[in-house]
C-alpha cells in the first residue's frame, strides 16, 4: 500500500515537472477567458494611428460561462457618442464547424439585428484587436509546441492547422508559470516577418483571479497600436443567463448601465 502511494506521488511530481503542452495552453486559455463563473469589466480603448491621432472607445463587458467551453458576452457601448447604447452580444461556441451567434442592437431603430458569422481576424471596433483577441481562439485550431521553459515562463509556438483561415503563419506565446496568463504573443506573417505583438502590460489579482488590467496590441507594419485599460472588474457576480437574450438587448440591464 505504502509503495503504491509513493509511486503515485512520484508520477504526479514527474507530470507537473514537465507539463504537457496541451495542458499548458488549456490552462492559459482558462486563465485568460474563463476566470470565475461570470464577470464584468469596463474597457477603455485608445487606438493610435501611424500619425499619432487617437480614437477612443468605452464599453462594459458582461460574460458568463455556459459549460463545455461555451460563453455568452454582452458588450454595452458608452463611447464614442454615435454608438452609445448600442449592444453587441455573442453566444460563443468552440466546437469545430460551429459558428458563434452574434447580434447587434441599434437603439435609434430599436432593432435587434443578427450578424452573419464573420472572419474572426477582423478588427474589433476599428482597433488593432481582432474579434479573436476579445473572445479567445479555439485551441483545436492550432498545433502547439513547447519551445522553451524558463524559471518563470513557458514559451509556446502555435501553428494554424488551416493556414488559409488566418493572416498569420505562426505565433509564439509567453505564458507566466505562476498565473498561466499569456504575457506576450508575437505573430509572424506569411513571409515569416513579425508584424503583430500583443502584450499584457499590467496584471493584478482580483477576487482571487490573476487579471490583465492593461493590454496592448501593436501592428508593426502599419505602425499603429491599441491599448485597453480595464477597470471595475468583478467575478462571480451571479449574472443571470437570461440577460443574454433579446429582451435585455432591447432593454439594457442595470448590470450593463450602472
Amino acid at each position: 500500500m505504502k509503495y503504491w502511494s509513493i509511486a503515485i506521488l512520484a508520477l504526479t511530481a514527474l507530470h507537473s515537472a514537465a507539463q504537457d503542452v496541451n495542458e499548458i495552453v488549456a490552462k492559459a486559455n482558462q486563465a485568460s477567458y474563463y476566470a470565475g463563473e461570470d464577470g464584468q469589466a469596463d474597457v477603455h480603448m485608445v487606438i493610435t494611428d501611424a500619425g499619432g491621432g487617437t480614437r477612443e472607445r468605452e464599453f462594459r463587458i458582461l460574460r458568463k460561462n455556459t459549460g463545455e467551453g461555451t460563453q455568452k458576452f454582452y458588450v454595452y457601448f458608452k463611447e464614442p457618442a454615435d454608438v452609445r447604447r448600442q449592444v453587441f452580444m455573442v453566444h460563443k461556441r468552440v466546437k469545430q464547424g460551429e459558428n458563434d451567434d452574434r447580434w447587434l442592437f441599434l437603439p435609434a431603430l430599436n432593432l435587434v439585428k443578427p450578424i452573419a458569422p464573420g472572419d474572426k481576424r477582423t478588427s474589433f471596433v476599428g482597433s488593432d484587436f481582432v474579434y479573436e483577441d476579445v473572445s479567445g481562439r479555439a485551441l483545436w485550431e492550432d498545433t502547439h509546441e513547447l519551445l522553451e521553459e524558463t524559471d518563470t515562463q513557458y514559451v509556446i509556438k502555435n501553428v494554424p492547422k488551416n493556414p488559409e483561415s488566418v493572416e498569420f503563419s505562426e505565433y509564439t506565446v509567453w505564458i507566466d508559470k505562476e498565473t498561466f496568463l499569456p504575457v506576450k504573443a508575437e505573430y509572424l506573417n506569411k513571409e515569416g516577418k513579425m508584424y503583430r505583438r500583443v502584450e499584457a502590460l499590467k496584471i493584478e489579482t482580483i477576487d482571487g483571479f490573476p487579471t490583465v488590467m492593461e493590454s496592448k496590441v501593436t501592428d508593426l507594419l502599419r505602425n499603429t497600436h491599441t491599448v485597453n485599460t480595464f477597470s471595475t472588474i468583478t467575478y462571480n457576480i451571479g449574472l443571470n443567463e437570461r440577460l443574454f437574450t433579446e429582451r435585455f438587448l432591447r432593454r439594457p440591464p442595470r448590470e450593463a448601465t450602472r
Binding site: 487606438i47 494611428d49 491621432g53 480614437r55 477612443e56 458608452k78 463611447e79 464614442p80 457618442a81 454615435d82 452609445r84 447604447r85 459558428n99 451567434d101 441599434l106 435609434a108 431603430l109 430599436n110 432593432l111 443578427p114 450578424i115 452573419a116 458569422p117 464573420g118 472572419d119 481576424r121 477582423t122 478588427s123 471596433v125 476599428g126 482597433s127 499603429t224 433579446e246 429582451r247 432593454r251 439594457p252 442595470r254 448601465t257 450602472r258
Partner: protein, 402 residues
C-alpha cells in the same frame, strides 16, 4: 420654438443632474439636390440643420427615455407649427417613454417610441409600425425611416415564448409621399399637388394593435404576427369627398430566421386582408394581398458583407404579382472609418428600381461626413419606384455627435 428648446434643455439638464443618466445628441447639417430640374418643382430636396438631444435615465424600477430633434428645414417652409404626428416643423419628438417591469415576466413601455420587428432588410411585411418614406427617399440617416409611434408596448415572457403586444390608441400613418418634397403618381399623371386625405383619427376607436409571438427553436427564431388597423398609406379613395383614405386592414404573418451555410437566412410571409374590400371588386379600395420575402446574408470577404432578398406581392383577386429583388453590399475600409454601401431594389415585373449608394467617413470619433444618393428609375411613371424618377437626388451631410 424657443420655449420648446428651453423646456427640452431644462428637462435634459434636470435629468442629467440625477445619477445614472446617459445623455447623447448630435448636430447634423444636410443638403440634397435633385439630379434633374423639373419645372415648377424646387430642385433642393434637402436643406436642413438638425439638433438631436437625448437622455436615458436608468433607475432601479424604471427607465425614462427622452429624445427629440430640433429642426431648421429650408425646403418645407409651410410648416411653422409643431406637428408631432407628421414630424414636420421645428420639433420631431422621437422618444418620450417610460419602461418598467411590473412583474418579473413582463416589461411595459409606455409613450412615444420607435417600434421595429420582422426579418426584412428595408422591406417590411409584418412590421406595420409607422415609416417615414420622405426621410428615407431624401437622404436622411437610415434611422429616420422609422417614424415614432405613440404606444403601449407590453412584452410578456412566459417560459414557452415571448409575446409582444403594441397598442396604438390612435392610428399612426406612415409619413408617406404626399406631393411635398416628392411628386407622386395620382392615377393619371405625376404631380406635386398636395395629396388630400381623410385620416382615421378618433382616439381609442381608430386604434391599432400589433402582436408578435416568438421563440427560438434549435437556433431558429420563429415568429407569428397579427396586425389590426389600417393601410399605413392612403391607398383608398373616396369619390364623394375626392380624398384619399386609409381603409381597414388586418395582417396575419409568420417568419423564421437562422444560421445556414456560414450566413443568415430569413423567410417571412403575410396575408393582407383588406377588410372593406373582401371580394376585391371595389375599384377605389385596395385588394387583399399575399406577401412573401426571403433573404440571405453572408460575409463575402473580410470587411465586405453581401445580402440578397426576394420579395413577392400577389394581389388576390386581380391576380397581379409584383416581384422585387434587393441587394446590399457593405464595405468597411481604412480601419472601419470609411463605410461604402449600396442597397438596390429592382423589380423585374414592374421594370423599375431604386439605388441607394452611400459613403460615410468618420473623420474623428465625433465628426463624420456622408454622401448619399437616391436614384429611382422605371420604364413607366405609374410604378412604385418609377413615379419618383424625376426626384432622384444626391445629398451631402456633416454630423458631430456628443
Amino acid at each position: 420654438m424657443r420655449k420648446y428648446l428651453i423646456l427640452a434643455f431644462t428637462l435634459v439638464a434636470g435629468m442629467a443632474a440625477a445619477a445614472d443618466i446617459e445623455t447623447s445628441g448630435f448636430l447634423d447639417a444636410r443638403y440634397g439636390q435633385a439630379l434633374q430640374n423639373t419645372p415648377d418643382v424646387d430642385s433642393e430636396t434637402l436643406k436642413e440643420v438638425r439638433l438631436q438631444l437625448g437622455a436615458v435615465w436608468y433607475q432601479d424600477l424604471s427607465t425614462l427615455t427622452l429624445r427629440s430633434d430640433f429642426l431648421y428645414d429650408d425646403v418645407v417652409t409651410t410648416h411653422d407649427e409643431i406637428d408631432l404626428e407628421i414630424g414636420e416643423g421645428p420639433v420631431d419628438l422621437r422618444e418620450a417613454n417610460i419602461l418598467f417591469t411590473p412583474v418579473p415576466w413582463a416589461d411595459v413601455k409606455l409613450g412615444r417610441q420607435i417600434l421595429t420587428w420582422g426579418t426584412g432588410d428595408l422591406l417590411f411585411i409584418n412590421d406595420l409600425f409607422a415609416k417615414d418614406w420622405k426621410s428615407f427617399f431624401s437622404g436622411r440617416d437610415e434611422e429616420y425611416l422609422k417614424a415614432p409611434s405613440d404606444a403601449l408596448f407590453v412584452s410578456l415572457f412566459p417560459s414557452w415564448a415571448t409575446i409582444d403586444v403594441a397598442y396604438m390608441p390612435r392610428f399612426d400613418a406612415d409619413r408617406y409621399i404626399d406631393g411635398e418634397r416628392f411628386s407622386y403618381w395620382n392615377g393619371t399623371e405625376v404631380t406635386g399637388d398636395p395629396l388630400q386625405t381623410e385620416r382615421p383619427d378618433t382616439w381609442f376607436s381608430d386604434d391599432e394593435l400589433s402582436i408578435r409571438v416568438y421563440r427560438t427553436v434549435a437556433g431558429w427564431e420563429l415568429a407569428g404576427y397579427l396586425y389590426d388597423g389600417f393601410w399605413k398609406s392612403p391607398q383608398g379613395f373616396d369619390p364623394d369627398s375626392g380624398k384619399n383614405t386609409f381603409p381597414e386592414l388586418t395582417v396575419y404573418g409568420a417568419s423564421a430566421r437562422g444560421a445556414l451555410a456560414g450566413g443568415i437566412v430569413h423567410v417571412e410571409a403575410g396575408y393582407y386582408d383588406s377588410r372593406e374590400n373582401p371580394d376585391g371588386d371595389l375599384p377605389f379600395l385596395p385588394d387583399s394581398q399575399y406577401r412573401f420575402l426571403t433573404g440571405y446574408e453572408q460575409e463575402i470577404a473580410t470587411n465586405l458583407n453581401g445580402a440578397a432578398q426576394y420579395y413577392l406581392e400577389h394581389t388576390s383577386h386581380a391576380e397581379e404579382t409584383r416581384h422585387v429583388l434587393t441587394l446590399r453590399l457593405t464595405q468597411r475600409l481604412m480601419n472601419q472609418t470609411l463605410n461604402l454601401g449600396l442597397f438596390t431594389y429592382w423589380s423585374p415585373s414592374d421594370e423599375d428600381g431604386y439605388l441607394r449608394p452611400s459613403a460615410v467617413y468618420k473623420l474623428t470619433d465625433a465628426w463624420r461626413l456622408e454622401a448619399r444618393g437616391n436614384i429611382f428609375f422605371g420604364k413607366t411613371n405609374d410604378t412604385f419606384f418609377g413615379q419618383f424618377e424625376d426626384s432622384s437626388n444626391v445629398s451631402l451631410a456633416v454630423r458631430t455627435s456628443f
